[in-house]
C-alpha cells in the first residue's frame, strides 16, 4: 500500500465563503498503479492531486504516504518529500520560459545539490528518454506543445520518483499529440514500474489507466451513467492484467 487516505477533507475559504473541495475521501492506492482521476470541472480533482503530491496539506483526515501522515508533516519535510518521491506534470507544462529544455530538466535536480556535470549528464539522458536529445538547447517558446510536455515529462522522470502526478497532461494538446504523450507515459509506466496518477476528464485517456475513480463535489462516487459500461470494463481489464503480470 503506497497511499492510504482516510476521511480526507480540504476546505478553502474564499470571500468568507467556505468550499469543501474534498469532503471525506477514503482511498487506497497501490504501488505501480496507473490511476485515472475523473470528474467534472470543480469536482476537486486538482485538489486531490495536490494532496497526493504533498503540495498542500489536507484540512482534516489522514493522508498516509508510505506510512507517514502528510497532514502532520512540516513545510521542510513536505518539500523534501516532493523533491525525492514525486514528479509533476502540468496541463500548462510549467516550464521556466527563460531556460532551455536541458536547463529546465536540470531544475528538478537543484534541490539534490548534485554536481553540475552529473546534473547535465542526467538531464541529457532524461531528454533522450523522451526523444528530445536534439532539442536540448531550445527554450520552451521554440518548442511545440507536445515537445514542451515531453520536456516536462523528462523533468519529472529525471529524479526517478516513486510517483508521477499529472494534472490534465493533455488538456492543452491536440488529439494526435495527446496520443503521443499518453503513449509515452504509458510506455514509461510499463518500463519503470512507477505509480502514475493522472487527472483527466478525457475518457480516452482514462481508458488507458489500470484503475479509474470519479470525483463528484469532493466525494468519491460512481461512474456516471453516461459512460458505456461494456467498453470501459474491457479497456480497464487490459492494463490491470499488465500490472498483475509485472508484480
Amino acid at each position: 500500500m503506497l497511499y492510504r487516505l482516510t476521511e480526507v477533507t480540504k476546505r478553502y475559504t474564499q470571500r468568507r465563503k467556505q468550499i469543501d473541495a474534498l469532503d471525506g475521501v477514503d482511498l487506497a492506492i497501490d504501488e505501480g498503479e496507473f490511476l485515472a482521476i475523473q470528474g467534472s470541472t470543480g469536482s476537486g480533482k486538482t485538489t486531490l492531486l495536490q494532496m497526493l503530491g504533498a503540495m498542500d496539506r489536507p484540512s482534516g483526515g489522514k493522508l498516509e504516504f508510505e506510512g507517514h501522515d502528510l497532514v502532520k508533516m512540516g513545510e521542510g519535510d513536505l518539500s523534501e518529500l516532493r523533491s525525492h518521491s514525486f514528479g509533476f506534470i502540468f496541463q500548462g507544462f510549467n516550464l521556466i520560459p527563460t531556460l532551455t529544455a536541458q536547463e529546465n530538466v536540470e531544475t528538478a535536480l537543484v534541490p539534490w545539490h548534485v554536481h553540475a556535470d552529473e546534473r547535465r549528464r542526467r538531464a541529457e539522458e532524461a531528454l533522450a528518454g523522451v526523444g528530445l536529445a536534439d532539442r536540448a538547447r531550445h527554450i520552451p517558446s521554440e518548442l511545440s506543445g507536445g515537445e514542451q510536455q515531453r520536456v516536462a515529462i523528462a523533468r519529472a522522470l529525471v529524479r526517478a520518483p516513486r510517483v508521477i502526478l499529472a494534472d490534465e497532461p493533455t488538456g492543452n494538446l491536440d488529439e494526435r499529440t495527446r496520443d503521443d504523450i499518453i503513449g509515452l507515459l504509458e510506455q514509461l509506466w510499463r518500463e519503470r514500474g512507477q505509480t502514475l496518477i493522472v487527472v483527466t476528464h478525457d475518457t480516452w485517456v482514462a481508458s488507458r489507466a489500470s484503475r479509474r475513480i470519479w470525483l463528484d463535489r469532493g466525494r468519491l462516487g460512481e461512474e456516471p451513467a453516461a459512460a458505456v459500461p461494456g467498453l470501459d470494463a474491457r479497456v480497464v481489464a487490459e492494463p490491470a492484467l499488465a500490472v498483475a503480470g509485472r508484480l
Binding site: Q50, G76, R82, I96, T98, T107, P111
Partner: protein, 477 residues
Amino acid sequence: MFFTYVFRELRRRHRQALLTAMGLAVGVALVVAVTAYAAGVGKAQDQVLQSLYGVGTDITVSQQQKMEQGGAQRFGMQPPDESKQGEKFSRSRVMTSPGQQSISSKRLTQIASLDGVSAVTGSLSMSVMSVQGEFAQVQGGSSGAQPSASAQQSGDGSSSQQGQAQMAPIDVSSLSVSGVDTTELALGPLSAAQVSSGRSLTSADAKSKVMLVTKAYAKQNSLSVGDVKKIDGKKFTIVGIVALPAGSTSSDVYIPLSWAQKLSDNANKVNQIYVKADSADDIATVQAEIEKVMPKATVTTSSDLAGQVSGSLSSASTLADRLGKWLAIAALIASFAVASLLTVSAVSRRVREFGTLKALGWKGRRVVGQVLGESMVQGIIGAVIGVGLGILGAKLIAAFSPALEATVASAVQSGPPGMPQAADAAQAVTVNLTAPVSLQLIGVAVGLALAGALIAGAFGGWRASRLRPADALRRVD
C-alpha cells in the same frame, strides 16, 4: 544554474530591469553629485578659512587694545638742528599691530597645560613704517614748522599749509612683519605656506637675523633669496620665498619671534596665539577654558569664523546643506521605492514559475535567493550607471558654477593683520568651486545602490516566499 537563471531572467525583462537599475542610478547619482558639491563647498570654505586663519589652527587668541593707545605715531623727523635742513634722511618706526594688545608669553605655557590642547604657538605681528626724503628747508626761523607724517594720514599733509609748501617729496612705505616661533611652524601664520625658493625657517634660526619673504612682496620689490633687507636698521638675510594661499592676510615678511620682540620692544610678548586642539570635539571646551584663563581676550574658533563667512560661498553652503541633502535623501527614498515596486510586480507575474519550482522541491530560501540575485545584479548595474552619472553631474557643477566669493567681517582679528587699515575692513576671498568625488564617496554610492537593490530584492523575495507549491497549478496566464 543560479547565474544562468538570473541572467536569462534579466535578459527576458531587460526593459524593466534597466528601468529598475536606472531608478537606483538616479538616486545614487544625486547623492554623489550633491555630496561632491557639498565637499567642494566645504573645501572652498576650508580654503577661505585657511587663507584667513592658517592650516591646522583650531582657535586663535588675541587681546583688543584700549582705544587711546592706538593714536597716531610720530616719527622723529624734526631736524636735529638747523644745519641738517635739506639733508637726506631715513627713519623708520616699528609698531605692533594697532588694536591688538601684546600678551605675555607666559600665557602660552598656561594654555598649553589646558586639557585638550595639542599645540600652542604665538606670533608677534607689527608694521614698520619707513619714511625717506629730505628734511624740509625751514625758512625764517626754526619755530615755524614741525614736519610730521603719520601713518594713518599717509600723503595727507594738509594739516599745515605752510609745511606742505615747504615739504620736499617724502617717500612713505610700510612693511608688515610677523615674528614666528621657528620651532612650531606647523601651527601659526606660516602653517599654510609653501616654500617656492630657498628654505623655510628652522628651530636653528631662532636667534638668527633671517627672514622669509612672501612671493608677492618679493616680486614687487625684486627681492630674491640671499638678498639682505633692513628692518629698522637691522640687516636680515632672506633665506626663502614663500607662497601663501590666495587671499590670505599674510604679512610681507616673517622673521624669528625673538627678533620681532626685540625690534618692537616687546620682550617675551606675542599678540596672537594659535591653538590646536586634540580633536575637533575638544575645540569648544578648550575655547571655554581659555576664556576662563584670559577673560579679556578674544578667543575665536574656526567655526566662529566660518559663521562669519558671507557672500555667495555661504549661500552655496546653505544650499548644499539644506536643499541638497533633502533632495538627495528624497530621491534615494523614491528610487528605493520604485525599485521595490518594480521588483514585487516582476515576482507577481511569475507566480506559476515560482510555484512550479517549489513543487519541484526548491526550498523557499533558494527561490528568495534567486529573486535577490536578480535584484543585486540590477543594483550593480544601477551603481555603475549611478556613479557615472554622479561623476558627470559633479564635473558639470564644477565646470559651470561661478567662482564663489566669501567675505569675512574682521570684527574678529584673524591672522596677522598687515596694514593698519585692515583693522575693520572686511576681507573678501574668491575661490573656484570644485566638486571632488572621492573614492570613499564612490564606495558609499555603490553601497547605497546595493542597499537599494537588497531592499527591493527583500520585498520581491518576501512576495516569492509567500507563494505555495500549489500555485504551480494556478491559472494566471
